[in-house]
Symmetry: C2
Subunit: 643 residues, 2 copies
């Protein structure tokens, strides 16, 4: 046998281009089969369109078209009204993997790695041999540029096959046309689903989809304002790796450790910087470029021993409970669900990366009772369609014992059964996906915990809702009995005896023996909403008409003694409070509080308040609480548990 040596092996060693790598491992990028390839291609195009529109404050208007002219081949066209791409950058953005603008920026965005759309171009070329065509218009009064692109995978660079200018009838925008091998028959349903889900978590986007049969599907915009813009922040000391710290110090312009810390990290003020240096036993004036590994190590350890303010969360752009509710309501109209509850956690941090969890729960209506609940997963406003089993969202949901909250679940584990949809949205500066295909989120304990907390809160709301409903139904029956049959009997008896009909209020009160609270909500469209900005800081500029939500609460004392107590009405965070009668004792971001005057038996009080900043249906049921009275006497409100 010939002896093979290290020298023989050395001859075969060579570099692999990143394009070749992904060409070979296309399943890692979500192109594992022809069905998934179709969805992934649409997804990457739409993600890019939405990201670029938001970046320049344009309400997105995205057009998606899929043509299926050839067997097992599709042409995908995605066009937007975004800012367009300057000519010089087109070949890089569409024809080069690992090229982009968002990789180093710490803020929430859909795309980040500069792989997505170039991977689609690569896949299209690999499977059809055809080139991608990109049209881009960056200025209103100049023509659009059209480029035909291929990728040289050995070099990971685009080849520009042709370039031209063309008239395009919009102020600015980008359009891409790519041919890919795809299974349209099996994939068409998922394209629709994907766009519908995208529309749910991007209520500010208008999406038009023309399918291969030529049918147009329009996903309307349900919010006229852009989401709060995610602001880029600096890295937080809690999450920085030792190696990254050393690298940052090597490239800094600061000559002193203190200025390095203050200028290149977030949450580092004078006090924290001083504390970190002291804890590490370092002179704050030393030059960071001259520090030893041991000094960096001491500094790195000091970071985790001192208290540093959490990173600013302006880098995140959550959807908000109101918009989630509105979208869910809009999309589940045909199901006519019994109710929709939402819950939003405060921002949190894992390895220095800020993140936030929002969940929504749709219950009842035409949803199937004997199937597993439907799980909708979203990350940075992008729907996740595959690998549900390997996602932290699923493991968080399945680890909750849902039987306590009225859903079926074998042995208190696994996906529960019942007429419900569970929606989860995670926003983060860096979503820890399990693979480059971005289909599942890794099992980070901090994230799992936040999802659990959010769902538990939602579940409690569901429970609360159901118990309130049951209680109210029972009392309603009693009420009907008393208020209809009793007077009739009284009237008949009086007639027979030829006596006047007696006053029954006292009797009714005695039988009812409760405080009855009922509410009605109405919407009124007005010319101009009399507010400048909502509480969450959303930009309402240019909004000239809107809806006023009018809530009327009726409190009736059906007890035999006079009653005096406090009432709380919880209001949505995005709402702005208008007129309130009677005058409340306190108004916060979260609630309105009244110290009610004494109500005499059989008497009532009328309470009214108006909310602006919401749309019709956003707020369709009051969440009422009472204080200083035994909650057992009250129908329609629960005990106030404090702020």
């Amino acid at each position: 046998m010939v002896k093979i040596t290290a020298h023989d092996l050395a001859k075969k060693q060579k570099e692999i281009s990143v394009a070749e790598f992904f060409e070979r491992n296309k399943h890692i990028l979500g192109f594992g089969n022809s069905t998934r390839a179709l969805i992934t291609s649409v997804k990457e195009g739409v993600d890019n369109s939405l990201d670029s529109c938001e970046e320049v404050n344009i309400l997105p208007d995205v057009y998606v078209e899929v043509k299926n002219h050839e067997d097992s081949e599709c042409k995908i066209i995605i066009a937007d009204n975004g800012p367009g791409i300057v000519k010089k950058q087109i070949p890089h953005i569409f024809g080069r993997l690992l090229y982009g603008s968002r990789f180093h920026a710490i803020r929430q965005s859909r795309g980040q790695q500069g792989i997505g759309i170039s991977a689609v171009v690569l896949y299209g070329q690999l499977t059809t041999g055809k080139h991608a065509i990109v049209t881009s218009k960056v200025e209103e009064d100049r023509p659009a540029v059209v480029m035909e692109l291929a990728i040289d995978t050995n070099k990971n660079r685009a080849e520009v096959i042709s370039r031209d200018t063309v008239h395009w009838d919009k102020p600015s925008g980008t359009k891409i046309e790519i041919n890919i091998r795809a299974d349209y028959k099996r994939g068409k349903r998922f394209v629709y689903d994907y766009l519908q889900l995208t529309s749910i978590v991007n209520p500010h986007a208008h999406i038009t989809y023309k399918d291969a049969e030529g049918q147009l599907h329009v996903f309307e915009r349900t919010a006229e304002t852009l989401p709060g813009k995610a602001i880029e922040i600096k890295p937080h000391p809690y999450g920085v790796e030792l190696g990254t710290l050393i690298k940052m110090a090597k490239h800094t312009n600061s000559r002193k450790l203190s200025s390095f810390l203050k200028s290149e990290f977030s949450s580092m003020g004078d006090r924290t910087t001083k504390a970190a240096c002291e804890k590490a036993g370092l002179d704050k004036n030393i030059n960071p470029k001259e520090m030893t590994r041991e000094q960096f190590l001491a500094l790195h350890r000091a970071f985790n021993k001192i208290k540093i303010m959490a990173p600013s969360t302006e880098c995140l752009s959550p959807i908000s409970e109101t918009l989630i509710k509105r979208s869910l309501k809009n999309e589940t109209m045909e199901i006519s669900p019994e109710f929709i509850v939402t819950s939003s956690r405060p921002p949190s941090v894992y390895s220095g990366n800020p993140f936030q969890v929002e969940v929504g729960l749709v219950y009842g209506g035409k949803l199937p009772k004997d199937s597993q609940v439907q799980i909708m997963r979203f990350a940075n406003r992008v729907p996740l369609l595959y690998q549900q089993g390997g996602c932290v969202i699923t493991s968080a949901i399945t680890s909750i014992d849902w039987r306590r909250y009225g859903l079926d679940q074998t042995s208190g584990k696994g996906i529960p059964t019942g007429p419900a949809i569970f929606l989860t949205h995670i926003s983060s500066t860096q979503i820890p996906f399990t693979s480059e295909s971005k289909e599942a989120i890794a099992d980070i304990p901090e994230i799992e915990n936040e999802i659990k907390l959010a769902f538990r809160e939602c579940a409690r709301k569901v429970q609360h809702h159901i118990s309130k409903k049951v209680k109210r139904k029972k009392t309603h029956e009693k009420f009907d009995l008393i208020t209809k049959i009793l007077p009739e009997i009284a009237k008949k008896s009086a007639d027979m005896l030829d006596k006047p009909v007696p006053a029954l209020e006292g009797v009714i009160t005695k039988i009812m023996d409760v405080i009855w609270i009922e509410d009605v909500i109405e919407y009124e469209t007005v010319e101009r909403v009399p507010v400048q900005t909502t509480l969450t800081g959303e930009n309402t500029e240019g909004q000239t008409s809107g809806t006023i939500t009018k809530s009327r609460i009726l409190v009736v004392n059906y007890k035999k003694n006079p009653q005096k107590f406090n009432l709380y009405a919880v209001i949505p965070q995005d709402a702005v409070v208008g007129t309130i009668t009677p005058k409340p004792t306190k108004v916060t971001d979260n609630y309105i509080k009244w110290n009610l005057d004494t109500i005499q038996p059989a008497n009532k009080i009328d309470i009214n308040f108006e909310l602006a900043g919401l749309e019709k249906g956003d707020f369709d049921e009051n969440d009422l609480y009472i204080e200083n009275i035994n909650a057992a006497y009250v129908i329609g409100a629960d005990k106030w548990e404090g702020d």
Copy 2:
């Protein structure tokens, strides 16, 4: 609000180095948390050692050491007796991602992408700021080279911090020392498990592990021969993508389409090449560099319309049923399982990539009866420890209704419960992992199907084994009763009556009314195994002593009539048949067949055969079948169902 334009955005666009990309996305490479990081680091080092030893035909001797000198930091040392790495290549192999020798080679190997070990170096640097140290010796009579390496992530290139020569007391080899952040306490168990599992599927490797407490664990070699070497093959036309075909034609040296097809693809001879050109309507003499996209498309389509021989499977190196059984036996000794069955599928193909499935099933003994069965997953001889839920092996197992095969399983789905271990090994020129961390295999239908078929076969063997056992036990009781008690009664009666003891054979035969087949297997160690090569082509060169497996089969006719039938003994594929008595009718790779002479009632036949090429315990139970007789009359063999 300031208007942001495409020009503003263009300023932020830039290239991302692949090292930066993976540094940021380290969880994709299996460094998601400090426990996993430890296993991944050991795994990448061991994979490299095994691959390099096999490549130069050296029986691997791998040393693994983990030190835990600092809190949450480990030093990992991995040394082998492989060929070493030439000086010039050291910085590239350990300090540059996407650099290697196996990416373009179509044959089975553990590593392929040139990412693994450089990712460990990168992770070590990122989390500890320390450099990696590599020692390499390529020639016996020259000193070893020692290099200290860092990675410049902005450039994806190694920085050589220092280099030196040193005496190393072995002919050749590579050693790497890396410090990483790791959770030793939680990870130590997994390191041991990982190495144990590695040893199961690499019976030719000797692995020594020194843990942080200083304890030595030795995983002995159980096979003295290297696995059959995987030979590099050319791409197969069935799996080639259109884009790849075009690229290949662009770079070919062939001037004619026919020679291009014959020289650059596997399975393309004169006949198939002619058929492909005809089907595509192409002249076989055209220059491939001048072909149009439409012509390539026609050719690509033609490939899938004509019959082309499956790719050669010499690019694969399966473990073999015998070695799987031997390893499982060795590793489960303490459990003393009731039996171990294995099953091996013929090689198959997905998207042009050859692959082969082998499975093993350990049953009974001290394995827990009320837990889910233990699933062991392997790909190209590498254990897969994480993401079991997202792996095609798991989905194949859970889709089988195991209740039919005597295991518990809720509603016939999910992981079954019972005292069993399920082992699956998949060999392929390209394992379709779901992510770069190589922890789970994607759901490719062809692979899933082969796994199911293999397990069904195994399950049938289990069923067969159990029913044979039950049947034999019953008959044994009857047999004991008849052969012990009956003679005693006869003797007593004869004594009492003072008459001679009657001949009972006829009576016993009448009561038993079966053909009784029993077998015994013995092993004998001999000086020299009298064979040159085993049937699977394994290299037995230099093997001067070995084991002879001696099988004795006893066939007794306990029926009242003379019996004549055929008997088959199934033999393991790796075995070589020696002396056989009586003379068999037929001997194939799979079985020995005898046309037995007529056996008179109460008479018996003794059958003996010898097997070489196996070790003690490899073959411990005969698999016997009968033909031309009603199987209901026979204990110890089943009906022969054909070849």
